[in-house]
Amino acid sequence: MSIKVNQQEHQLTKLSIENEMTIYTALEHKTTLTDHLKNNKDIQIDLSGVTEIDCAGLQLLLFLKRQAIEQQINLTLTQHSQAVVEVFELLDLGNHFGDPIVISADWKQ
């Protein structure tokens, strides 16, 4: 399972996604993540382990964000990996998600 529940304290659920977020994992991720959305009001997803993200993965993130807003869930993305940042920058989506993105100095441009 590439999605781990790291911590659950008070209302906050911290999840992390590992490895790829692509068309191959999209269905599985969607099922797992929508389940978490049903049960929690405050979710943090750690993206630092995402090694590869494609458009299907991105679409899933967009979908989750919209679902979260509709269900008045506080969904934040944290620790964006280089792959995620690259895509966010390409599509200029940083503002859409509204989460602070930390760009590591180690990343190769």
């Binding site: 068309i23 458009c55 299907a56 679409q59 200029d92």
Partner: protein, 725 residues
């Protein structure tokens, strides 16, 4: 020409004259700067042009001439001196005005090209010493007009690319991101919007389906073609729209302007050529167009704009350009008007040239000048092509004459209360202009006859089981050096009993006639014969058909009539293509030479060959088992017999329509370019001869009337057995 067009023409001529006067005045002012009359003339020129231009709304001319006029007004009131500098500025202004006028006349709806605007401003500055802004303001106005309609692009310099991926894009292995990354290598993404309005909520959302749409504002120097090629592999799973930047619109407009004006291209082709569209765009739009229902299909331009493939002004401009090109091409295709007399003179000269070239050939041959022979031969072939070309100049299509009859048919059928449809075919058939002119009246007469006598009233037609609408067909085609014009109707046909009755009553034939059906029909061409009981103002007075026949025969043509009772009548007119020069076949008998129009010669046979056998008693030639009527030309024309012992005789088999006959001659001289010289009035009645020609050696050869001679030969054959029995 509309009144406005003719007014424009007058304006063009008037201003041209005024500008010429102005130039003359300026040049004479150079030597005599105080000539007030000249200054007045300058002022008048500018003033008049300004006034007339104002009438037509040619604002750039008004603006410019206004300045020139003001300066000249000052000169007139001695507020400004005439010097060399002013004269040279005025000369430039005069030239510039001419250019402005030319522009306004040729493309009144176009904004002033930049170079003219710049030139206007520069000249105004030189005239007045101040920068003028009126024209500039106008130029910006028009550029604003052009940028309208591009509507939903926010950034002027950017391409607007819309990517609408379809559901299956991910499943088919597409990653839209990779296309966008690739696009980035071609230029700069100014703005990108990602949206997903159709993405379902909750469970229904299939994460493997693609719901994403992108709108990208993109700046790049790449062509539309190149940009499109980025998305080449996505084409099956994505609707791609690439709208060129607004800044490109003007470039496209300019490119459209500079497109070749010599042939009309289709809208799509033009837009591809300037790079506003790619072939893919056009194919796509054309497919949409053909997929649409017949009645809902839109013009290509509209589809292109609707699909946001190109801005509206570009399409509009392209259409306008297309229209202009069409007009230009049409204008270029139209003819040079040449005085018919000049053309006639040319044809005469060519005729003389043909004769003298024949004379030269003869001398070359007589003196055995072998080296001159080659030169003569090549000149000969040139002369014959000059002859053909010269004659072609006079060839016109008969279609125009034909279409004039549409109106006649329409009017007459209304008048007669009949429903008649005129069907025209073979309108592109060409024949000599003079023949066309002379055939017009006979044709008119024959058509009126068909309308009046031929086609029955709708009630009568329905009664005999024909459709109420009658049909008159007008057809033309070429046949062995002749043009055949047919007028066919599907009317009642000719009533041969009535014709015979009338002909006997008029004393044209005797009661014990033995005429064939065909011959009876042809009686209607006899003077004073009309079977119509009641003469109308259209036809039926019994005058006319004989005139028709006479007119046609005067053109060395013939007319035949065929009719099937109840089914209709067909009149066929055979006419020679030209009246001036023909390809002839020269034969000789008893030292006299004759020309047979080559087109009528079928074959030549030597009499002593086994193929044919002459039967003097029955008066026919047995030609490979067929009886062929014949004439001995020498006998027929009663030429005195020479003492020369004949070695052998030849037969020239000629045909005219369905009829064939053999002419027995002594010598075959071969092909000969024949300039037809009409015979004088004295010889008009001669039978068997239509004209004469001058040979290279100065002798005269007679041109045979093949049709008449065939009839004579057939007649002879008929009579001979009767005499014997």
């Amino acid at each position: 020409m509309s009144e406005f067009d003719s007014a424009l023409k007058i304006f063009a001529q008037e201003s041209e004259q005024l500008l010429l006067d102005m130039e003359g005045a300026l040049l004479s002012l150079e030597s005599d700067p105080d000539d007030s009359e000249m200054i007045n003339s300058l002022f008048r020129a500018m003033h008049t042009i300004k006034g007339s231009s104002g009438l037509f709304g040619f604002n750039p001319i008004v603006a410019f001439t206004h300045e020139a006029e003001s300066v000249l007004d000052k000169v007139r009131n001695n507020e400004r001196a005439i010097d060399g500098e002013l004269i040279s500025v005025m000369l430039d202004s005069k030239d510039h005005t001419a250019r402005l006028i030319e522009h306004c006349l040729s493309s009144p709806d176009q904004p002033l090209p930049d170079e003219l605007t710049v030139a206007s401003d520069a000249l105004i500055k030189r005239l007045t010493g101040k920068q003028h802004t009126h024209i500039q303001a106008q130029a910006t106005d028009t550029s604003q007009v052009h940028s309208e309609g591009g509507g939903n692009i926010s950034i002027d310099d950017s391409w607007l690319i819309s990517l609408d991926f379809r559901d299956n894009a991910f499943r088919n292995g597409m990653d839209p991101l990779s296309f966008i990354r690739y696009l980035k290598t071609l230029g700069e993404i100014k703005q990108i919007l990602t949206f997903f309005p159709e993405m379902p909520h909750g469970e229904v959302m299939d994460p493997e389906s693609c719901y994403l749409h992108f709108k990208i504002a993109f700046t790049s120097d790449a062509s539309k073609q190149t940009i499109e090629s980025v998305f080449e592999y996505a084409a099956d799973d994505c609707d791609i729209k690439i709208l060129p930047p607004n800044s490109k619109v003007n470039a496209y407009l300019q490119l459209l302007d500079s497109l070749d004006e010599n042939h009309v291209s289709r809208l799509g082709e033009m837009l591809i050529q300037v790079g506003a569209l790619t072939e893919h765009d056009v194919e796509h739009a054309l497919k949409d167009q053909s997929d649409a229902q017949q009645d809902t299909a839109k013009p290509l331009g509209e589809i292109l704009v609707e699909q946001q493939m190109v801005q509206k002004p570009v399409v509009e401009h392209a259409l306008k350009k297309q229209e202009q090109t069409k007009q230009k091409v049409a204008a270029e295709n139209s003819y040079i008007r040449v005085d018919a007399d000049k053309l006639g003179h040319l044809i005469n000269l060519v005729g003389e040239l043909v004769i003298s070239s024949a004379a030269m050939n003869l001398i070359v041959e007589r003196h055995g000048l072998t080296d001159a022979g080659d030169v003569a031969a090549s000149m000969n072939s040139l002369v014959s092509s000059i002859r053909d070309t010269a004659l072609e100049l006079r060839m016109v299509q008969i279609g125009e004459t034909f279409s004039r009859f549409r109106r006649v048919v329409r009017d007459v059928s209304n008048e007669l209360g009949k429903e008649i449809d005129l069907q025209i075919s073979g309108g592109e058939t060409e024949l000599d202009k003079t023949v066309v002119e002379k055939i017009n009246d006979p044709l008119m007469h024959l058509i009126r006859n068909s309308l009046d006598h031929g086609i029955e009233s709708p009630a009568q037609r329905l009664a005999v089981g024909k459709p109420a609408q009658g049909i008159v067909q007008l057809n033309a085609y070429h046949e062995s050096g002749h043009i055949v014009i047919q007028i066919a109707d599907d009317g009642a046909g000719l009533d041969s009993d009535k014709i015979v009755e009338k002909a006997i009553a008029n004393g044209i034939i005797k009661a014990d006639h033995s005429l064939t059906q065909q011959e009876i029909y042809n009686l209607i061409f006899a003077a004073g014969l009309s079977t119509k009981a009641q003469a109308t103002n259209l036809s039926g007075r019994g005058v006319g058909m004989d005139v028709v026949k006479k007119n046609i025969e005067a053109l060395r043509g013939s007319v035949m009539i065929d009719s099937i009772p109840g089914e209709g009548t067909t009149i066929s007119i055979q006419l020679p293509l030209t009246l001036a020069i023909i390809d002839g076949f020269m034969v000789g008998t008893e030292q006299v030479r004759y020309i047979i129009p080559l087109s009528m010669v079928d074959e030549c046979i030597e009499m002593d060959s086994t193929e044919s056998e002459i039967n003097e008693i029955e008066h026919f030639i047995n030609l490979r088992g067929h009886a062929l009527p014949y004439l001995r030309l020498g006998e027929y024309f009663n030429t005195p017999k020479s003492n020369v012992v004949k070695k052998h005789e030849s037969v020239v088999v000629v045909k005219f329509g369905q009829d064939r006959a053999g002419f027995v001659v002594d010598e075959l001289h071969g092909e000969h370019q024949t300039v037809i010289k009409p015979l004088g009035k004295m010889f008009e009645k001669l039978k068997g001869i239509t004209g004469a020609t001058v040979l290279g050696d100065g002798n005269v050869a007679l041109i045979l009337d093949v049709q008449g001679l065939i009839e004579a030969a057939i007649g002879k054959r008929k009579r001979k057995p009767a005499l014997l029995h």
